[in-house]
């Protein structure tokens, strides 16, 4: 319990415990899970049955509207809640479409004065041929969403739903892996400057730990992909590049095990580690950004933009990175200590 020496381990443990508890227990914001119809026709009267997620339809004052643009909206004439998760709405869609096109994408917004608003974006209005003369509905700009105070709840995203919590494990473990690889790179540069065996042990241990982290990252990402994209492995460019970069670091392990002479092994692996890190930067940083990808941050999607991350997610995400990186550093330190003991035993045996 040496607090002066091991303070970073305690920080890591606290960060990890916080990540696991907050990341798994904090609820999601209310959202709309299902809407009975996705195609609406202009000039008609539609009744929609909606199923909410984490919603409180019986609590507070609710209003629902369909929004095309900021000032073109229609309010539902009836909002009838059956229970907290189910409600039925009645809309009168106007005859004329402001955009003039045949198909218009619109968003269903459900607003609550107490719990804030939630949106469902996958609705379409099709222009119908029959002009309904009894319909007097018009696009208005009267409705506004009500702002409620900040609450510790993760945002609701349509396809992700509860799997948004994997951000703290899948994304954070890749970030932590990158931190560990950078530390390994720094140790390799140290070794080339001053050939001390401790630098080599550190570089190797950090690289091995980051390979393990990479494997965990691939598995967690694969599970996440099963629930959001539908398959365990897709032909996504980021997955391929990550597979190749893992191959590069496995080659590092093979290079280390193939050379017997300790000094030559240390020197060759330090050189290859720097080379591999420099080769990995175009693989992971540049190529996925040039082509289309499903991952955020690639193919023109912004990474960590306001659409993907909000401040509530960041409050758990950054401690997760710190905690995982410190955990990796801790494991690497134990590996290095084992190596040092082995070296000592070998040296004593040689001296006897």
């Amino acid at each position: 319990m040496n607090l002066k020496k091991n303070w970073w381990k305690y920080i890591g443990i606290i960060c990890l415990i916080y990540t696991v508890t907050a990341g798994l227990l904090v609820p999601l914001k209310p959202g709309i899970l299902e809407v009975s119809e996705s195609r609406l026709y202009s000039g008609s009267t539609v009744s929609l049955d909606i199923i909410g997620y984490n919603t409180h339809f019986l609590d507070g004052r609710y209003s629902a509207f369909i929004r095309m643009e900021k000032d073109k909206q229609i309010k539902s004439s009836i909002f009838k809640a059956q229970d907290n998760q189910r409600a039925s709405l009645l809309f009168e869609i106007p005859n004329d479409m402001p955009s003039g096109s045949k198909v218009t994408d619109v968003t269903l917004v459900i607003n609550n004065t107490k719990h804030g608003y939630s949106i469902y974006p996958n609705l379409r209005i099709l222009k119908s041929k029959n002009h309904n003369d009894e319909n007097k509905a018009q696009w208005t700009n009267l409705m506004n969403v009500s702002e409620v105070g900040w609450k510790f709840a993760f945002p609701y995203r349509n396809i992700l739903i509860e799997t948004i919590r994997n951000t703290f494990f899948h994304v954070a473990i890749w970030m932590a892996q990158f931190v560990l690889l950078t530390i390994a790179l720094i140790y390799s540069i140290f070794y080339l400057r001053k050939a001390k065996s401790i630098y080599d042990h550190n570089a190797a241990a950090f690289t091995y730990i980051s390979i393990v982290f990479g494997v965990i990252g691939v598995i967690s990402g694969s599970l996440w992909a099963r629930f959001t994209w539908g398959t365990f492995w897709t032909n996504d460019v980021k997955l391929n590049m990550v597979a190749i970069s893992m191959m590069i670091y496995l080659a590092y392990g093979i290079l280390r095990s193939s050379i017997d002479d300790i000094d030559k092994k240390a020197k060759s692996s330090a050189i290859y580690n720097i080379f591999a890190f420099c080769a990995m930067i175009p693989l992971i940083m540049i190529i996925p950004r040039l082509t289309d990808s499903l991952h955020p941050g690639n193919g023109g999607n912004p990474a960590f933009g306001n659409d993907d991350m909000d401040n509530t997610l960041r409050m758990v995400f950054y401690p997760a990175i710190i905690g995982l990186a410190l955990l990796g550093g801790w494991i690497a330190q134990i590996v290095v200590r084992v190596k040092k003991v082995e070296e000592k035993i070998i040296n004593e045996a040689l001296n006897d």
Partner: protein
Amino acid sequence: MNLHFQKIIALLTLDIKTEYRNKYESYGLFLFVIIVSYILYRGTETMDAFSFNSIFWVFILVMSSNFALRAFTKTKEEESLYLYHVVSPYHIIISKLIYNWFFIFIGGILFLFLGLLFHSFEGFPFGSFLILLGVGSLCISSTFSLPSALVLTSSNRGTLLGILSFPISIPLILVCTSMGGQLITEQSWNMNGLSLLFSTILIMSTVSLYLFKYNWQS
């Protein structure tokens, strides 16, 4: 600066002279190219330019992994001890890089020439494909040079070179293949890919230049 150039050119001429004296080694390369082209010609009844392009780049990868080692294995130990006192490692790695590039380029031109001879594709963009081959082979030689110097200390050189440099060169080969395909079908350059190749050449050759001296000292 002038002296550096002279030293690099002297090393290159030394390499090429040794190559010329041991002609059978380069004959091995040419025989390899001719055999592969002939098998392609006999094995495939009809081939379009698009599939030839992908086979071409796979061939470049295999050829460079076979021949990249030769640049370093040729120098004998006494010779490298002599060179150690005369030139700096920068000269050596630059000359080896150019030498590797030259051989991959020559082999690629020969394979391309034979392929065009046997298959006679219509409207094949010969000139721009040659430029792409030049850039791509420089890229591949910059990724193969340092690993081939690294594996010299190990006993199982050929396998280890493949393990070390294949993962790095796979994406480059993929980029080259897609660029070649675009050249053939649309007659246009993929500027993103080109800038990627140039940046890879820049990064890889700088890193090789910096790191080679540590390897050479041993």
